[in-house]
């Protein structure tokens, strides 16, 4: 039992905290969100140079062999800075699936260029009817003369506008919600038949709805065994879920600090707002929620290497809990800031929006509550 970072992990934390504090003010973020790419190519290059893009990958894949704790450290800082670069989509889902399932050629074709920051890749998986059910896939891949013909609709694919490669999940057998029969394909984002409708998201990120119409790929595009990828999808998504829990913790801590600063600055009725007990108790509720969210992020992160049921129990407990805690902290931060909390000018609203959208990412609080219950109660 140990909840402290190793010396190396502390160095990583210092480095990413410093980057966020020095290079990632709200004005900088605003400019990035408004830019053509919607994120900083220069930042991405910096991430690559600092080795952050290599962290979760094995040394054999050209990575640094870091684990969930290092990812957690990064993501918490990214949350604190409201970082918009496509780390979750490219590193934690896209490239992580390639590492988990790819053969030698596929890894060689994708991983070095991703780790060096030259190429972006994302996981085009969710579909409009699927909501949060990972196995609900209607996109089909049918055999066509030694090739696969893929058709379907992928919804709200984060980083889908700028990605060079897509990993598309498609059904090669089975019924709509079967866990068996889901295959993954590496698809060039510019391939014929791929149409991306790109848009900004309410929290300042970029995403795309991706239409696939008779997209033809060769057998070399198949990632992993045909029809047998669900367990890997689930485990990669669980790892990414723990990571966004860490992002949420960074956001929540920042919201709480901003709120305390406001309470210690603004005066009404001749005294600091922080002297009012009604507001004190609400900021204590926020504090408790932040502490418990941090605890649950540790529990999820440190359970990723445990057997499946135990992993699900921890990750879903954390995501569900943080969905609730995040809603409380976000809403209270706005409330305690009063009218200023409603403005676009202040940071609070931006943090609140990202925190709110995190609940939808990889399954919301209700989805994970039931997933937890199913794992624990049967």
């Amino acid at each position: 039992m140990d909840f402290t970072l190793s010396d190396e992990q502390k160095l990583l934390k210092d480095s990413v905290d410093r980057f966020v504090a020095e290079k990632y003010g709200l004005d900088v973020r605003r400019a990035l969100v408004a830019s053509e790419d919607g994120f900083g190519r220069e930042n991405w290059k910096t991430f690559a140079e600092l080795g952050w893009l290599a962290i979760p990958f094995a040394e054999a894949s050209g990575g640094l062999g870091g684990g969930p704790i290092e990812v957690m450290v990064l993501m918490e800082a990214f949350g604190r800075g409201l970082v918009v670069e496509p780390f979750i989509s490219t590193i934690l889902t896209g490239a992580s699936l390639v590492e988990a399932l790819g053969d030698k050629e596929q890894k060689a074709a994708i991983l070095p260029s991703v780790i060096q920051g030259k190429k972006l890749i994302t996981f085009a998986h969710v579909e409009p009817q699927a909501r949060f059910t990972l196995s609900d896939i209607m996109t089909t891949a049918t055999a066509d003369g030694g090739r696969y013909r893929i058709s379907g609709h992928k919804a709200v694919v984060f980083g889908g506008d700028s990605a060079n490669h897509l990993i598309v999940s498609a059904r090669t057998s089975g019924d709509q919600r079967d866990e068996n029969g889901i295959s993954l394909f590496l698809v060039d984002a510019e391939a014929e038949g791929v149409t991306r409708r790109s848009y900004g998201t309410v929290d300042g990120l970029r995403a795309a709805d991706v239409a696939l119409k008779d997209v033809l790929v060769g057998p070399e595009a198949l990632l992993g065994e045909e029809g047998d990828t669900f367990a890997t999808i689930e485990s990669v998504v669980d790892s990414a879920t723990a990571a966004v829990c860490a992002e949420a913790v960074g956001i929540m801590d920042s919201l709480h600090e901003q709120t305390l600063e406001h309470l210690n600055t603004r005066e009404q009725f001749g005294v600091k707002l922080g002297k009012f007990q009604a507001l004190q108790h609400r900021s204590v509720d926020m504090f408790v929620a932040c502490q418990e969210a941090r605890t649950m992020t540790y529990v999820a992160t440190l359970s990723l290497d445990k057997p499946r049921t135990e992993r699900i129990r921890a990750v879903s407990a954390a995501k569900s809990h943080i969905g609730r805690a995040g809603r409380l902290v976000g809403q209270e931060a706005v409330q305690l800031h009063g009218g200023m909390g409603m403005t676009d000018e202040l940071a609070v609203g931006h943090y609140f929006k990202r925190l709110t959208m995190i609940d939808t990412l990889f399954g919301n609080m209700d989805h994970h509550l039931e997933r937890f219950a199913a794992a624990v109660y049967g």
């Binding site: 039992m1 140990d2 909840f3 402290t4 970072l5 992990q9 704790i69 305390l260 309470l263 210690n264 922080g274 002297k275 007990q277 507001l279 004190q280 108790h281 900021s283 204590v284 509720d285 504090f287 408790v288 502490q291 418990e292 605890t295 649950m296 540790y298 529990v299 992160t301 440190l302 359970s303 407990a317 569900s320 809990h321 209700d366 509550l369 039931e370 937890f372 219950a373 624990v376 109660y377």
Partner: protein, 398 residues
């Protein structure tokens, strides 16, 4: 970072489990299983069994007869006691007055009281709250006036748990009325069998008798029973409050309650299916289980930091708030779970020796009284609102 107990900690856990299994008297075990009330003799009997094993005061320094367990070992021990449904050693001696005497008492006090606390020669109770001094404890009025080598004590203490069983009470009394509230308080040890002490039971809404009001009329206390310096009692009281709240999240017994809730929800039927399958109730149980997990590991973060030598800070206030909220939440779900059979109230069935057929399922009888009883936990040991005031000031700087 890792979540796992070390091999030696696992071995220790097994040792504790084996000890409990082998040593819990069958009469006490039967009462626990039937959820009947334990008598003072039961508490004393179990205390003496632990004393025989040297396990009464794991948190005391070895020079005073403690064991010197690590904070994690203490946590494991407490968790196993709770999981087995065994009440903790009564806290008033071991966890409250003991540490105060060790820190501030005279050598004579240490030599006399500490061994008797360990062996349970004396049963203690705590004289803090008064009818007009609850959250505002420092406003207390029970008066101790010096008369030669004695104090003459007049006044009243309230919500005094176990006063009807106790041999001794540690009391906050006012020795100076001319100064600021906090500066005129002293810490006195008083024999409950002395003349002038009157203990009147307070029956709580669950029908139980845990607490009392204690009246002092010209009670004469030797000055040698003063702990530390006169008028410095508030410092000792604050020192003690920290100890009072340690382990307050009661993870082990809460896990036991949650397991009980799940068993009942599996046994109860709703619309032809087990209650645990009914989505509305299932959500509530799952939320409670997740929240308990958050509480458990938040406590473990603090325990593990203490294990590495960090001085415990204000996390105890957070644990008090969330621990009491969880106790209340689970007790609330327990009465929800049993539907109509929350209603029958047969107090005799809580007493040992009652062996009539239960009304309704055998797990139902005590659940409503327990629910009503648990409303105390957000009030005692510093109400949750007071805890929030403390966090706000000490942690958040408001």
């Amino acid at each position: 970072m890792n979540l796992d107990y070390s091999e030696s900690e696992q071995t220790f856990r097994e040792e504790v489990q084996n000890f409990i299994r082998a040593n819990i008297p069958s009469t006490i075990k039967a009462k626990i299983d039937a959820r009947q009330k334990l008598a003072n003799e039961d508490y004393i009997a179990w205390h003496k069994i632990l004393y025989g094993r040297g396990w009464v005061a794991p948190n005391w320094p070895t020079e005073f007869g403690g064991i010197g367990w690590t904070p994690l070992q203490c946590h494991i021990f407490d968790e196993e006691i709770g999981l087995a449904g065994i009440p903790r050693v009564m806290p008033f001696g071991v966890n409250m007055v003991g540490p105060v005497i060790m820190e501030f008492g005279t050598d004579a006090q240490k030599e006399y009281y500490l061994p008797r606390i360990l062996s349970c020669e004396d049963v203690w109770c705590q004289g803090y709250s008064e009818p007009s001094s609850g959250s505002d404890l420092a406003s207390l009025k029970t008066r101790a006036v010096r008369d030669g080598d004695q104090y003459v004590v007049n006044g009243s203490k309230i919500w005094t748990t176990s006063a009807h069983w106790a041999d001794l009470i540690f009391c906050l009394v006012r020795t100076d009325t001319e100064v600021k509230n906090q500066e005129g308080i002293s810490f006195l040890l008083i024999n409950m069998h002395d003349p002038g002490i009157d203990v009147r039971p307070i029956i709580t809404m669950d029908g139980g008798h845990e607490v009392n009001q204690v009246f002092f009329t010209d009670v004469r206390v030797p000055v040698t029973n003063l702990v530390g310096e006169e008028n410095k009692g508030w410092t000792y009281a604050k020192f003690l409050l920290k100890h009072e709240r340690a382990g307050i999240a009661a993870i082990g017994s809460q896990k036991r309650q949650l397991n009980r809730l799940k068993e009942i929800a599996r046994a109860e039927q709703s619309n032809g299916q087990a209650l645990i399958e009914e989505p509305r109730f299932r959500d509530k149980i799952s939320k409670a289980e997740i929240d308990l997990m958050a509480l458990e590991y938040t406590e473990l973060r603090a325990v593990s930091a203490a294990n590495q030598g960090e001085v415990p800070g204000t996390e105890v206030n957070l644990l008090k708030i969330r621990g009491s909220e969880m106790q209340q939440k689970i007790s609330e779900l327990l009465i929800e779970a049993i539907g109509y059979y929350a209603n029958p109230f047969v107090p005799d069935s809580f007493e040992a020796g009652w062996n009539e057929e239960p009304i309704g399922p055998d797990y139902a009888a005590t659940l409503a009284p327990e629910y009503f009883n648990w409303r105390k936990s957000s009030i005692y040991a510093g109400s949750n609102e007071v805890q929030k005031n403390i966090i706000s000031k000490m942690v958040l700087g408001l």
